[in-house]
């Protein structure tokens, strides 16, 4: 299965991902991303009056000649963006005729590709049980192979507690945290969001659901068994029950959208059976997170 996730077709799709990420960063190591900080790049940014202690090499002597005052030439600082991609590796992700896990890994890989392509740093982390398995930060296109290799080894098993997982997550300064999950966690996500905001993270929630979860095509009385907890519940798939489920799913979706609006982050939902291009080029672009170069 894993071999088929990242096949030739996938790489062909990746080549089309000539996208930029609209992010303004002021922290992190020097990189290719324009920063709000002033630094040492070749790109002029502003002037200011000389102050004691300034590097005298940056004094604009032409301005001094014209205006008889000492001005310091300020240049744009170029920094690399910190992107944390958190992939939910619980068993619930391993569901659907077109598995959510496959789509989630493809999205993670695609976003990693875009990040690396923008000379930013990506940290791929896997949420498992109550831990977070973190990969080292990777930059440069050459690191993409490592990411693919890491994703290919991903096991979707057990259950996750997003709140606890993320609370223990070691963040590397200010950056962007992308969480790819089905968010079917009874304990919710609120604490995790608060933590990430506290850690000055821009948050992107990508909810991946299977078609079977979006459109219930079940009938009769079923004993539904939870893939993660093995709990079961007996439900007669009457129209009322299906409608009630739909209401609950929309309620969860609305809750995540409300959180996004409230804290100013992005939330999007994808279905495991839709095409990757459509999700990346249309849905992610529409959010404004990506832009064409």
């Amino acid at each position: 299965m894993k071999e088929s996730i990242f096949d030739e077709e996938f790489y062909q799709k990746l080549n089309k991902l000539n996208l930029g990420i609209r992010m303004r960063l002021s922290q992190g190591q020097t990189g290719a991303r324009k920063s709000s900080a002033k630094g040492t790049s070749v790109e002029f940014s502003d002037f200011r009056e000389y102050m004691l202690g300034d590097d005298i090499r940056r004094i604009d002597w032409n301005a001094y000649g014209r205006m008889d005052k000492l001005y310091i030439k300020q240049f744009m600082e170029e920094k690399e963006g910190m992107f944390h991609i958190l992939l939910d590796c619980s068993k619930s992700m391993d569901f659907g005729e077109k598995k959510k896990s496959v789509f989630a890994m493809q999205v993670a890989a695609a976003l990693s590709y875009v990040v690396l392509n923008n000379l930013d740093r990506v940290y791929l982390s896997k949420l498992k049980e109550e831990n977070v398995v973190c990969e080292k930060g990777m930059t440069g296109k050459s690191s993409f192979k490592k990411i693919i290799a890491s994703l290919e080894q991903t096991e979707f098993d057990g259950n996750t507690n997003l709140n606890k997982n993320i609370a223990t997550f070691p963040l590397h300064g200010k950056g962007v945290t992308i969480i790819i999950s089905d968010f079917l966690d009874p304990k919710g996500l609120d604490e995790a969001i608060s933590y990430l905001l506290y850690r000055q993270q821009q948050i992107i929630l990508i909810q991946i659901l299977a078609r079977e979860e979006l459109e219930i095509g079940l009938d009769g009385t079923l004993s539904l068994v939870d893939l993660e907890t093995k709990e079961n519940i007996k439900i007669t798939m009457s129209k009322a029950a299906v409608d009630a489920y739909e209401q609950q799913r929309i309620k969860l979706q609305n809750h995540l959208e409300d959180l996004a609006k409230k804290y100013g982050f992005l939330y999007m939902q994808g279905c495991s059976d839709e095409s990757l291009e459509q999700f990346i080029f249309e849905e992610l672009k529409h959010t404004g997170f990506l832009h064409s170069k």
Binding site: S92, L222, D226, T229, I233, T236, A244, Q248
Partner: protein
């Protein structure tokens, strides 16, 4: 509310069966789902509506259980009490006389309708009511008394049959009156087609009288003279319209002739059939047109059989002897003291009591206190003799009987005679046959003995006269249903065999001849036979429908359904079985509707 029968409650065991079936049916298949988080919420919401949802989920099962309960409940025949607390007695009197065979409607006879009405009363009665069933025809017959089992009472009613006997329900009133003191609370229902005087009984008359055209064949008479032989059939039209029909005369079950007849309302016509074969045994007349009462459309007659025996008693005065002869069935007694007028063959038997004929008659004779004749010789007299019985045909019921005679004539018993009394050296009495004629002798004056005062005397005379006469087995040839017949059996013969019109055979022991034969419920030709020695005597007789009292079916409509003044009902109940059945059917319909909708 009470239940008539409890046994259907055993079917309640089916209810757990339905539940188990549903549980088995609801055995769910497992389905692996990513997370049941949302489904838990769904379940919680549905739990909030739990009672309704649960009901909705199992609505089919609940409806099935309700339907089953309804059916079981209906089987128990529940009823609501509509009267007093005590269950009391229900007395059903059904008229089973011949007129009840008439049509009530196209499908039902009056008696069948009466049974329906009786069943309806039983159905309405409270549980625990003591039910007494009485039928009335010629006699009152208690078919069942104090039955508390309604099903058993219904079975009794269903098994009742109508007779062809004359009668009505009036005799039952006196019977019920005598029961009343023991009954306590009771209701009596007379189900009849005729008037009933219910007197002070707490009784109600349920009339099954009906309109209908009826004609009857009243009689068939056969007359034979030297010149001709004719059969006369009397047909009566009991209805208000002219009755036209064919009258068919059968002789020994073969059609002899058919005559058409038109009878004005309420009148009778006699139909003549001439030149009837004189060798026939049984005549049957029948009208062909169907009417309301079919049983009276046929009548029978027997021809060419013996009639009553003529006995001439020649005596000056002997009241005991005279009375004892009159007691013998089938005998016509003539008395005279003038021997000069006697002729041969005028009588079947001559009894000479202390008087001797001038010339010997060529006939059966019984000599009492005789002089010498051609058959025996008198050798003086002896006094103070005790006579003892000798075992024989005429002394069959006189075992060890003795009586004293003041004076007896000395006669030696002839060799060819059979002695029945012994007087020591001489005979006390004998009988025998001379030249084909039977001669009997009692050699003493009955006035000189206490024998006529004894109970054995009429028995002895009866048996002696039967030996000296050939009387036949039946005193008459035509009877009506319900008549009792005293068979004139020969005490020395075998048991009597009676063949009924239906072919049923019955044997009557000869020792029971004192009892009458009363099983004449069936109209038709009967045959009785008895073997005496080597000879078997067979005689036929007919039993006809009692047309006089039962054929006029319209005259019995004078009283319609009504109750006696003091009639109070406290036994009736409201049967709710039908309502419950209807409800159960509605529930089944609802279940079907829900099932279709769910599908």
């Amino acid at each position: 509310m009470n239940l008539t029968a409890l046994w259907p409650l055993a079917f309640l065991i089916l209810i757990p069966g339905i539940i188990i079936l549903y549980m088995l049916k609801q055995k769910t298949t497992e389905y692996q789902f990513s997370s049941i988080m949302l489904w838990k919420e769904v379940y919680k919401n549905m739990e909030a509506n739990r009672p309704f949802e649960k009901l909705k989920r199992n609505i089919l099962m609940i409806l099935q259980i309700i339907a089953l309960l309804g059916l079981i409940f209906a089987l128990t025949s529940p009823f609501l009490k509509s009267g007093g607390k005590n269950s009391g007695n229900l007395v059903l009197v059904l008229d089973s006389s011949a007129s009840m065979n008439a049509d009530y409607s196209k499908k039902l006879s009056r008696f069948e309708k009466a049974k329906e009405l009786a069943l309806a009363q039983i159905k309405k009665a409270k549980s625990g009511t003591k039910i007494t069933i009485i039928t009335c025809d010629k006699d009152v017959k208690v078919e069942a008394s104090n039955l508390q089992d309604k099903q058993g009472a219904k079975a009794k009613i269903k098994a009742l049959t109508c007779s062809e006997l004359a009668g009505d329900t009036n005799p039952a009133t006196s019977y019920i009156q005598s029961m009343v003191k023991q009954l306590g609370a009771y209701e009596a229902y007379f189900i009849t087609d005729s008037d009933v005087k219910t007197l002070d009984l707490n009784a109600k008359i349920l009339s099954v009288a009906s309109e209908g055209v009826n004609a009857s064949v009243d009689s068939v008479i056969y007359s034979k003279t030297e010149k001709e032989s004719v059969a006369l059939v009397k047909v009566t039209n009991h209805s208000k319209e002219t009755f036209e029909t064919e009258v068919t005369l059968y002789g020994d079950n073969k059609v002899i002739s058919i005559e058409e007849v038109s009878i004005p309302p309420k009148e009778s016509e006699t139909v003549y059939f001439e030149n009837v074969n004189t060798n026939l045994k049984v005549l049957k007349a029948e009208i062909s047109k169907q009417d309301a009462l079919k049983n009276d459309n046929t009548a029978y007659a027997v021809v060419n059989q013996g009639t009553k025996s003529k006995v001439v008693l020649v005596t000056k005065s002997n009241i005991f002897l005279e009375k004892s002869i009159q007691l013998v069935d089938g005998v016509e007694l003539y008395k005279t003291s003038d021997v000069a007028t006697l002729k041969d063959n005028e009588a079947d038997l001559y009894i000479f009591d202390s008087i001797m004929p001038k010339d010997e008659l060529d006939a059966n004779k019984l000599y009492i206190n005789p002089s010498s004749t051609d058959y025996f010789t008198v050798n003086g007299t002896s006094k103070g003799t005790i006579l003892t019985t000798k075992e024989g045909t005429v002394t069959k019921y006189l075992d060890n009987f003795q009586f004293g005679v003041n004076e007896i004539k000395k006669i030696k018993c002839p060799v060819n005679a059979e002695e029945f009394f012994s007087a020591g050296d001489t005979t006390g009495g004998f009988y025998g046959t001379w030249n084909g004629k039977k001669i009997g002798v009692l050699p003493f004056d009955l006035h000189q003995t206490d024998f006529p005062l004894q109970a054995e005397f009429p028995i002895f005379m009866n048996q002696l006269l039967h030996e000296l006469l050939e009387t036949g087995l039946v005193p008459n040839e035509i009877f009506y249903t319900g008549d009792s017949i005293d068979f004139l059996a020969n005490a020395s013969g075998s048991n009597l065999k009676v063949k009924h019109p239906s072919g049923r055979k019955e044997t009557i022991e000869v020792r029971n001849i004192a009892k009458t034969f009363a099983d004449t419920k069936e109209a038709g030709v009967y045959q009785v036979s008895q073997k005496v020695g080597k000879k078997t005597e067979t005689q036929q007789f007919v039993v006809n429908f009692p047309v006089d009292s039962e054929s006029d079916i319209k005259s019995k409509i004078s009283q319609q359904t009504g109750a006696s003044k003091a009639f109070e009902t406290n036994l009736n109940t409201l049967d709710i079985k039908d309502f419950i059945l209807l409800l159960a059917i509605l529930v089944i319909g609802a279940e079907w509707f829900v099932y279709v909708k769910e599908q």
